[in-house]
């Protein structure tokens, strides 16, 4: 099967999954709650607000009609209005999404940068001390309550060592003296574009603790996955061929074996990316990082239901497209993929 045909088939499947996803969110927001109009309005609704919400939501119409209206609104980017901020949710997302993405991408780079070499070494030297240490780190990482680790990091690196700031995306002083021009919403990129290195440095030191905390789960998964696929690949005949040709071990591990072993790792990392978008919820609260997480947590406390659903849909869309991107990447890395 030609590569483009394979990718188009994957694309169509993704659209189908997204359709299914909207059915589920529709069910959660309109069918499951005993009084969806009250959820839409928020806590302590007046009778008038409820009847207006019933009209807006079209709750008097039959379910299929409601669903079609729901979908067409979503397609226009209309996620409704936040009960708490009275802003269209789309506007809120524009400021919060980049903040979360900056944090999550940094965390994924950390997970990949540490987890991949550690996983390769653990797999290559299976059964040795390196392997035992790497496995222990991995299982500790996936068992770690990140919200708790975040507190420990703050205690150690802020309170005791005074190395890093406790929270926020920028220091107050810097924020006042260095106005940031929002281009991408990623402070690191925006400050670099503006050539303001003091701002860049400040943004970077603020990013370190939350990014490392957020990376733990992905780090654990990356180590585990890389290790196990390395163990599997290293038993392959072509590894013996490479050894029989006298190639150095380092090249066998990090090039010949890794290119075969890396696909499952990337898949896991893609999944972790999406899980980290939700994992960021807890971390953002602790580090006062104003992103999707703080947005959703405040929504939970204020029973701001439209926001919860909107964020769920956004993150799910990310999930589906990241999976698509991974398929595409896999097709590039492994020439055999498009055969199946």
């Amino acid at each position: 099967m030609p590569r483009w045909e394979y990718l188009i088939r994957r694309l169509i499947l993704s659209v189908l999954v997204l359709l299914g996803v909207t059915v589920i969110t529709f069910t959660i927001s309109r069918v499951v709650p005993s009084n969806p109009a009250a959820l839409w309005v928020g806590p302590r609704p007046t009778q008038e607000q409820i009847s207006r919400a019933r009209e807006i939501l079209g709750l008097d119409k039959p379910l299929p009609v409601q669903y079609i209206r729901y979908i067409s609104a979503l397609l226009q980017g209309d996620f409704g209005v936040s009960v708490r901020t009275h802003q269209p949710i789309l506007t809120d997302l524009r400021t919060y999404l980049p903040a979360t993405l900056e944090l999550v991408i940094a965390a994924m780079l950390i997970a990949l940068g540490i987890g991949l070499p550690l996983g390769v070494l653990a797999g290559a030297y299976k059964g040795t001390l390196v392997d035992a240490i790497a496995r222990l780190i991995a299982v500790a990482c996936v068992s770690m309550p990140t919200f708790w680790l975040a507190l420990l990091f703050q205690l150690i690196f802020f309170s005791n060592l005074h190395w890093l700031p406790v929270s926020g995306r920028l220091s107050t002083v810097i924020k006042l003296t260095h106005p940031i021009e929002q281009v991408t919403g990623f402070y690191l990129i925006d400050s670099a574009l503006a050539g303001d290195w003091e701002l860049f440095r400040d943004a970077l030191v603020h990013l370190i603790l939350p990014a490392f905390t957020l990376s733990t789960y992905a780090l654990g998964l990356t180590i585990r996955m890389t290790r196990s696929s390395m163990v599997e690949v290293l038993q392959e005949r072509y590894i013996t061929t490479a050894r029989a040709a006298g190639l150095p071990e380092r090249e066998i591990f990090f090039k010949f074996a890794l290119k075969n072993a890396i696909v499952p790792t990337l898949t896991v990392l893609g999944l972790s990316f999406v899980y980290s978008l939700t994992g960021a919820i807890l971390i953002e609260v602790i580090f006062s990082w104003h992103g999707l997480g703080t947005y959703v947590t405040e929504a939970v406390l204020a029973v701001d239901f439209p926001v919860i659903i909107a964020v769920t849909i956004i993150v799910t869309v990310f999930y589906v497209f990241i999976n698509l991107a991974l398929d595409w990447f896999q097709a590039i890395l492994d020439p055999r993929v498009t055969l199946g």
Binding site: E236, R237, Y238, T240, T241, A242, R243, A244, A245, G246, L247, P248, F256, K259, N260, L333, D334, P335, R336, L339
Partner: protein, 327 residues
Amino acid sequence: MTEPLLRIEDLYVRFRTDEGTIRAVNGVNLEIMPGEMFGLVGESGCGKSVTGLSILKLVPHPGRITRGKIWFRGENLLEKPESAMREIRGRHIAMIFQDPMSSLNPVFTVGHQITRVIRRHHHVSRREAWERAAGTLDDLGIPDPERVMRSYPYELSGGMQQRVMIAIALSCGAELLIADEPTTALDVTIQAQILELLNALRIRRGVSILMITHDLGVVAETCDRVAVLYAGRVVESGPTDAVLQAPAHPYTQGLLNALPRPSARRKSLQAIPGSVPGGIEEIPGCPFHPRCALADDLCRSKTPIMTPVDSSGAHLAACHLIGKSEG
């Protein structure tokens, strides 16, 4: 008399597993002369592949070479450090395997894989390595080498893959090629072509080949001399014609009887009763006695040593019955 290119002396390999220690190789001795095609034959599980891997010191975990010497060009390989072995692998001794598809790395092009090995052992530019690789492929009779080199392994046929493996093995000018069941996974017609190719290489380039196979037919067609392996021991060895026409060991006789021969009188095929021992329990006496119809008390208690079968002294077998039948 010329010096042998390779001499294996008293080689022992053990695998320590949870179920017990597997005695894979139990004192193998053999010599390979320069330019010779030497057959190592036996059923699967007899230790022939492990013997081949031992020469390169690539016995897989948890296996270990516990005793013996492997002399190559006047040096004992078993005393060499890993770094020195890496210089020898691919450069002086090369190896090809049964299933060419799984022996080639699926995610790199053929050209990448050949040139990488060339550049490992010779200080040449990428360009020169590429041309040299194309030259080797051309030399092996592969049409359109450039196209083959730009292909991924899965895009080639099994026979072509095995030719590529041979090209990788010989691109650096190895003196010894270890061929572990090189034709088993291939179609009959392709088998013949590959064997012919190996034979031609031996004659043209003077490469010695250790042909590891379970197929006596392959041995009969290609090998100058042969050693029969059973339970990790050489039980019979000698010039191919002598061994195949006058097998002295009951096991070799059994193997020959199990071989379909259209020319021979129509005698039904006979499988050897029983199966190859697992290698965990130590068998007292002759390792073959539990499956041997002629075994007596001596066979059950004393391990036979290799003794000359005929006056030439080149044909040897490890069987107590040899002396008896003559004396």
